[in-house]
């Protein structure tokens, strides 16, 4: 029988297309699963307003459920409460680091101009002697860093609160 738990088990295995090492559950963008009449409603939330992965994630959720014979599905995208990197699971943070992307660290208030860059350990050699190259990177959710010891350039999954 199809239950919330069985849907959850299927949907939780859908991976983020841009950070394929993470599932949508690890990322915290899978918000809820509920039943409305005969329809299973899967609620997701975008990381950033313009995140181009959302459409792909929606169709992957539908495909994953369809492959188990579940077709009465509606995907709802909600903006509030707005996604924050605090919803990234501990497991997710470990996976990110192993994949070579530094997970978010506590950051100071963004309203302070020229605030000190956060200390982001290098995912390769673990040195804390790293430098921000750019506030923006390959996707909206990341910034670009370089390790000053092993010289590895790496992505940092920036803190959003």
């Amino acid at each position: 029988m199809v239950t919330v738990d069985s849907i959850d088990a299927i949907v939780s295995n859908v991976h983020d297309p841009e950070v394929p090492v993470l599932t949508i559950k690890d990322l915290g963008i899978l918000r809820s699963i509920s039943q409305k009449d005969d329809i299973w409603v899967v609620e997701i939330t975008p990381t950033y307003s313009g995140c181009p992965a959302m459409k792909t994630i929606e169709s992957e959720i539908k495909e994953a459920l369809l492959s188990k014979g579940i077709s009465n599905v509606e995907i709802v995208s909600s903006l509030s409460p707005a996604w924050t990197t605090d919803w990234l699971s501990e497991e997710g943070k470990r996976k990110l680091e192993a994949y070579g992307i530094a997970p978010p660290v506590d950051e100071v208030d963004k309203s302070v101009l020229f605030s000190k860059d956060p200390i982001v350990p290098c995912p390769l050699c673990k040195s804390k002697h790293t430098k921000m190259i750019s506030q923006f990177s390959s996707t909206a959710c990341k910034a670009h860093f370089q390790c000053q010891d092993c010289l590895e350039p790496f992505d940092y999954f920036k803190c959003l609160r």
Partner: protein
């Protein structure tokens, strides 16, 4: 709502013109990331606007299929990219205003608009940090960068007054608690702008600028060219997708 969405779309379109043309790779990425956020915010606003309008139009129709006089963005947002200083100053004036606006819209009596504001505010804070730091860096940089930034400030200043324009539409929405009093944002806007410009050893213009007519659909000559590029594919191949 179209005034809000059109500001995002048109400025997002302008910033995306930097794609592949940034002065350094990092800034190419920064400007286009900002463009992506703005176009994402426009999508959220248009999706809601289309539902409210209820004429079987969708967000894409609102974005791509209106005529020039049916767009209500502020004239500042359609100004050409110019040099890097022009783009950064335009962005700084806009980000400062937009951050103040989202901070108020979070408390809107309209729950959907409040949710869009809550989401967008986090992104706009980041854009503000980026553009404000660059204004200071350029102003306090070389003689050349200071001169270009000061020129950009003088040429774009005239368009800033329009950001605080209010007419019957805003007043009606304000009475319902949907939007804040837009004019009340001008004072904190000016305070922030003055602080940043002074830190960058730049001069704050004394004149007040003028009320542009973008909010009523009357645009500068730049708008037609921008729309021609924005709309070309949908006009040439209606309903095309990829």
């Amino acid at each position: 709502m179209l005034r809000l969405g059109d500001d995002s779309l048109i400025l997002g379109q302008r910033l995306s013109e930097w794609c592949g043309h940034g002065p350094i790779l990092e800034e190419d990425i920064a400007l286009t990331n900002t463009a992506l956020d703005l176009i994402g915010q426009a999508t959220n606003i248009y999706t809601y606007a289309a539902e409210v309008q209820g004429e079987n139009k969708d967000a894409d129709a609102l974005a791509f299929l209106r005529l020039e006089h049916e767009y209500f963005n502020a004239i500042l947002t359609e100004q050409p990219n110019g040099n890097f200083a022009d783009t950064i100053v335009r962005q700084f004036f806009f980000d400062t205003y937009r951050k103040l606006l989202w901070e108020q819209l979070v408390h809107s009596s309209d729950a959907r608009l409040a949710a869009i504001a809550e989401k967008s505010l986090k992104e706009t804070r980041y854009h503000f940090k980026h553009s404000a730091e660059w204004v200071i860096r350029l102003g306090d940089g070389t003689e050349d960068s200071n001169e270009r930034t000061q020129l950009a400030i003088h040429s774009l200043w005239r368009y800033t007054e329009e950001l605080f324009y209010t007419d019957d539409t805003e007043e009606a929405l304000q009475a319902l608690g949907v939007i804040p009093a837009i004019q009340s944002l001008r004072k904190p806007w000016l305070e922030t702008v003055e602080k940043v410009l002074l830190q960058g050893t730049l001069i704050v213009p004394e004149d007040k600028g003028y009320f542009g007519k973008g909010r009523q659909g009357m645009h500068s000559e730049n708008m037609g060219f921008l729309l021609a590029q924005l709309q070309y594919m949908q006009r040439a191949y209606p309903n095309m997708q990829w």
